[in-house]
Symmetry: C2
Subunit: 412 residues, 2 copies
Amino acid sequence: MKDFFNVVTIEQALAFRSVFSELEMEIETVPLIDAFERVLAEPMSATENLPNFRRSTMDGYAVCASSTFGATESNPAFLTVKGTSLMGETPGFSIGSGEACRISTGGMLPVGADSVVMIEHTETIDSTTIEVLRSAAPGQHVIEPGEDFLKGEILLSAGRRLRAQEIGLLAAFGRDTLQVYRKPVVAVISTGDEVVPITETPTPGKILDINTYTLTSMIKACGAVPISYGIVRDNSESLNQTLALALKTSNMVLVSGGSSVGVRDVTIDALSALPKPRILFHGISISPGKPTILAMSQKKALWGLPGHVVSAMIVFLKVVKPFIEYISGIKGLMSQTIKVQALLSRNLSSAQGRVDYVRIKLKTVDGKLVADPILGKSGLISTMVKADGLIEIGLNVEGLDQGEPVEVELLY
Amino acid sequence: MKDFFNVVTIEQALAFRSVFSELEMEIETVPLIDAFERVLAEPMSATENLPNFRRSTMDGYAVCASSTFGATESNPAFLTVKGTSLMGETPGFSIGSGEACRISTGGMLPVGADSVVMIEHTETIDSTTIEVLRSAAPGQHVIEPGEDFLKGEILLSAGRRLRAQEIGLLAAFGRDTLQVYRKPVVAVISTGDEVVPITETPTPGKILDINTYTLTSMIKACGAVPISYGIVRDNSESLNQTLALALKTSNMVLVSGGSSVGVRDVTIDALSALPKPRILFHGISISPGKPTILAMSQKKALWGLPGHVVSAMIVFLKVVKPFIEYISGIKGLMSQTIKVQALLSRNLSSAQGRVDYVRIKLKTVDGKLVADPILGKSGLISTMVKADGLIEIGLNVEGLDQGEPVEVELLY
C-alpha cells in the first residue's frame, strides 16, 4: 500500500463526489425562523394564489379604469366616493362606472374595481366627490391574484439553499416548519509529532496547531458542523483508533499534516486499516496541495490534507468544500465562489502539468482593480492573512503576463 | 411632525452613520474556536517570532549550502550523514562542512545547517553517506525564524472581521481566548392591520407576515442577532409601547410596513413620542425604497422601512446593513458586497434624480455573463426569488443600453 501513488487532476478529483451519492444526509424538521442558509429537503408548491386577492400597490382610489378614460387636468373625470377599503378587510360594497373607493397600499380592491388612481392624480371636491386628473389603465397600480405565484406552481425544489428571499417566500405560504437536510458533521484531526495544542507553550522545534482552527472555521463557512479530535501522534495505531471514532461520529473526516514521506505512510497505513478501505487518489496535480489523499470507508470520505497551513486551506477551498456541499444535499449551484476581474500586476510563471493557485492582494490603481500576487512559501500563514483572493493558472499554461485580466476568487 | 419630509440621497443617508459613533458595542471574551466571523476588539501583535526556529519545507537533508556548490549528477558532492532531526525536537548535534542531517518537512535544522536538499536530489550510498546531485542555495527549502511574522510586528488591528486565516494566525500565537465586540441585537417589528402571523390562515384581505422572516435572515447574514417583536397594529400607541420595549432590548430597531400615508404618520408619531427623538431623514431618493425613515432615540437608530417585501429587502441591503456593520465595530472594508461584471440584455430606462436598483437574473450566453433584468412590482417576492443580484442605475443616469457592461451585486 505504501507504493500506491495515483495522482489525479482537479477535475478527476472532483468527479469522485459521485462515489458518495449513497451517503444522503438525514432529514430534520426545523422552524422557518431557523431555516436561513439550510438546504431544503422537500419540493415546495404554491398552496394558494399569492396574493389571493386583488391588492393595491399605491395609496389612492380604486376605480373602474373606463370611468377615467380621457381624463386630464383641464378635463377631469368626476367620481363618487362610495367608501373606504379598510386594511385587511373585504370591502362590503362593489364599484361601478363613475364610482371610486378610498384605498391604501396593500388594501383589497372592491368587486368591480380594476385599477387604482394615485392620490397625487386626484383632487378632493367634497367628502363624496373626487376629480381624477389622468386616465387610468386597467390593472394600473394593482397586483392581481396569483400574480406573484399561481396555486400549484412549483416554488422551490429540494436541494435549494435558502436565502432571505426563499425564507420570505415560505413565510408567504404559511410554512412555519419545513424539512431540511441535517448539516454534515465533519471531523478534524491534526497529526504531527511537532504539533502541540495552542494552550501549551511550544518548546523549540514544536509549533502550535493552526490547522484545527483554520479548518473548523472553513467547515462552518460551508454550513457544516466541525468536530475537533485534537492532535494525534504520528503512528498508525493511534491515528487508526481516532479515525475509527471520527468515522462513527461524523459524515466526513479531515486529517491534516502528513505531507512528509514518513507521515504520509502513517496516514495511508491508518486509512488502510479501516473497514473496507478504498484509496481513491493519492496526489492532485495542483500547487500548493499536491500530497492530498482521498479514501473511502463505510461510504464516507476521509481526507489526508497537507500539513502546511496554506496548502491545507487551498485544498479545502478547491476540493474538500465541493464534497461537503455535495453531501449537504445542495443541488444546482454547487459552490458559492465569488470572482472579480482584475489586471495582473506582474508576470507569473507556472509549471505545466499542474494547476497553480496564487494568493492575491487586490489594489485599485488609476481606478482599475489590480491583482498583486503574494509570493511566499505555503508554510507562511501571513500570505493568507494578506490575501484577498486566489487566482488559478491552468494545467497547460506556462504563465501569465503582466497586465493580463485574471479572475480573482475572493477569500471572504 | 406629520408634514416633516426630508428626502436625502443614498450618500447622505449613509453619512448619518457617524451620528451613532457614541454607540460602541460592548466587548466580550470568547474562545478562539468560536471567534470565526467575529469582530476583533483589541489590536494583536506578534509575541514571538513565527516560526521561532529554522524549519525545513521539504523532506531531505539539512546541509551547509557551501558543501554542495558545483554538485551535479556527474560530479556529485559526497556528504556524511551525522544523524536525524526528529520532528518536534532540537537536534542534539551541529552540522559542519561536508556533513548532512536527515530532516522531514517541518523539522528543525541543526546548528550550522543553512539549507535543505530535497531527497529527490540525493542518492544514498550507505547508512552514513549520501551523494548530493545539485547545488543548494543558502536558505533553500527553509523557513527562517520570523519569516512569517517578526516578534513585535502588528498582526491585526481592532475592528478586523476574522476569517479562517485570521483565526489560524491567532492560533499560531497561542491566543486561545480573545476580545471581540458583542454582536449587535437588532429588533424587528412588523406593522399593518392587513398582516397576520404565518401560523394563521389569512382571511380575505389579509396577508402573512413575510418581512419578519426576510429581515431576521438578513440580520443574521450581517453577523448580528435578530429579535422579533411580531406584528403591531397600526396605531401609534401600541407601536410606541413596542418601540420602547425594543429600544431597551436591542441596539437598533427596524419597523417594517407603513409605506402608506396613514401608517407612515403612525410610525412618525410613534417615533416622535420616544424619549428625545430626532428624525434624521424621511425619504431616500432610491427606487424601490423611497419611503424610508431614520430616527434616533437614546443614541440608537430606529428605522421605518417600506412594507413591500422587495423594497424592504433592498433598503436593508443598501442602507441598513452598512449601519449594522458600522455599529458592529468593523473598520476598513465596510461591506461584504460582491460584484460581478455582466452585459445588460436589454435597454433600461430610469428616472433622473433617484438611484434605481434593478433585480437581475444572471445567464451565460456564448460564454459571456449576461444580466437579464427582472421587471416586476416591488410587492412581488417572486422577483427576488428569481434574482441572482442587483444593478444600480445612478442618480443622474437616464437609462442603460442593451449590451452595456454592468456591475451586478450578488444576492447570496
